[in-house]
Amino acid sequence: MTDAVAMTNERNQMFRDLFSGKTPKRVPLSNPATQDFAIQYAGLDLAECQWDLTKLEPVYEKFCQDFVTDTYPGGSIRLPSHYQILGSTPIVMSSSGFMQHPEVVGLLAEEYDEFIASPYDCIVEKVLPRLFTELNGAPGKVAMTLAKAMRAQSDDLAYLGTIRAKMNAKYGYATMMGALTEAPFDFMADFLRSFKGISGDVRRYPDKIAAACEAVLPLMIKKGTLPNPAMLGYTFIPLHMAPYLRDKDFATLYWPTFKKLVETMAGMGQNVQLFVEQDWMRYLDYLYELPENTIMRFEYGDPKLVKEKLGKKHIISGFYPITLLQTGTKQQCVDKAKELMDVLAPGGKYWFQADKSVINFEAKGPVADNMRAVLEYVHENGTY
């Protein structure tokens, strides 16, 4: 057995332990930086590398070499080729090469009833043509566009997959599968009604939102299902809108279908990782109710309180403030990691991840050095 294979086995075991509530050998850790960061770190052009993926292999090689982590530090569903072919409005490449999300409205308020009656039909017939200009027009054109776009994305993902396999084989990362889905309310907000639209709907037609969330729940479950629930991996659910809602709107509109989603995934034997974005401290009692060993990566809030209230039942992660990597000294950055480990690691059920992704690299800035120091510190000092 090569060293890398042994390392993969060891890391897989760490995550199996973590996800089943056993204390792993050491604190598992993930590099918070993304492919965007990696490309800039290699000194290459963002736009060019995201179009010509053959440029990415040396990018990942350097990234993996320089920053220690237990999970493969890359992957993205937002590559430009298929969005370009589709005439995407909700995801567009900015002049600096970042894939970004302007506010869009895919579903009109007067279309709620149609959506509720058959969400997927409504998505195909109303939402897609509205958001993707090339899916709007003669059926022949639409069919050809869809074929090109799916082929493009499929090629891109396959190529990223080969890079990933190479890096796993060389650096011995844990081999985890992932599926992505959303809380029904967030799905209704993000690309369908928009942040602004849903905020008005909460006041104007709360019953329709509730019915739409129920209607779309089976789609969100299906989307979040892994090819095989026994695989090492998890369903990733980023959480968006709850902190912007009043408690009572959260309780009636957001929570019920979200809870069902997580319970269903857990019931199928899958792990779930929530990215608890913004500040959820007023909802901790709700989070407690979710199935045991739900992984919760927090952005803001009080780590002590979270460990106390949720740490025995759930797996806690996040909180490391990436802004510190930009403003702090190496010592301050490492001290912060130590402080968080002291609070969150005791008793296990802890995974070191940052509060958000590092997407930007400035050659003159301290981020890369600080991040390297933090990852090495956690790697060396996280032994239980």
Binding site: S95, Q100, P102, E103, K196, I198, S199, V202
Partner: protein, 212 residues
């Protein structure tokens, strides 16, 4: 004349039906411009209640957004009866979300409040380049320039915009205010703005002070 207290409270409660009912009834009476101004003032006082409830954590960002939308709807309805007052614009401003940033909720809230307070507002929208600011300012010669942004990179864009005003020789002729979550005193100095705020009502007071 309608009961302004009820209107103020309805705005505070974000009760759309009551607000639109009152405003539609009011407009139907073909009121004077002066009375219409009183109605606008009552709405603004309602927005202050919204702001208070937000600070007390009874309202959240979603409620602010809805409040902004209600306010602009109300102003739209009142425009025909306010038009008699058009000659009495208290001042003018060019506003926009700076280059690279697409967030406009905060800017829109501020824009409707400024309009309600009697400013002529030229809104350039989102992702506004320094060049576009310069061109519009040369065209309409406003009293005030308002820049909005919530991304950290917006700070750089604001600095570039002020620089562009200087280079075009029009910086001296206007007051510059910046708003949005990441702005603070340091950023304000760096950028070379005259004022900063993370609160639309406060920003409006500053602007009113400038045009007195």
């Amino acid at each position: 004349m309608i009961d302004l207290k009820i209107l103020t409270q309805a705005v505070g409660d974000l009760d759309e039906k009551v607000i639109l009912g009152i405003i539609n009834d009011f407009v139907a009476t073909n009121p004077s411009g002066e009375d219409a101004q009183k109605v606008v003032l009552a709405c603004q006082q309602g927005m202050a209640i919204v702001g208070d409830l937000f600070e007390k954590n009874e309202y959240y960002v979603g409620d602010l957004i809805f409040a902004g939308e209600l306010l602009s709807q109300t102003i739209e309805l009142l425009k025909p009866v306010l038009s008699g007052e058009a000659t009495q614009k208290v001042g003018s401003m060019v506003i926009g979300t700076v280059e690279g940033d697409l967030h406009d909720i905060g800017k829109n809230i501020f824009g409707s409040m400024a309009e309600a307070a009697g400013f002529e507002v030229y809104d350039l929208g989102i992702d506004v380049s320094p060049r576009a600011f310069v061109d519009k300012i040369k065209e309409v010669k406003p009293d005030i320039v308002g820049m909005s942004g919530v991304l950290t990179l917006a700070i750089d864009a604001m600095r570039n915009t002020v620089k562009a005003l200087e280079e075009a020789g029009i910086r001296e002729g206007v007051k510059v205010i910046i708003g949005g979550n990441p702005v603070n005193e340091d950023a304000c100095k760096q950028i070379g703005a005259d004022a900063f705020t993370t609160n639309a009502a406060e920003g409006l007071k500053t602007c009113q002070g400038w045009v007195k």
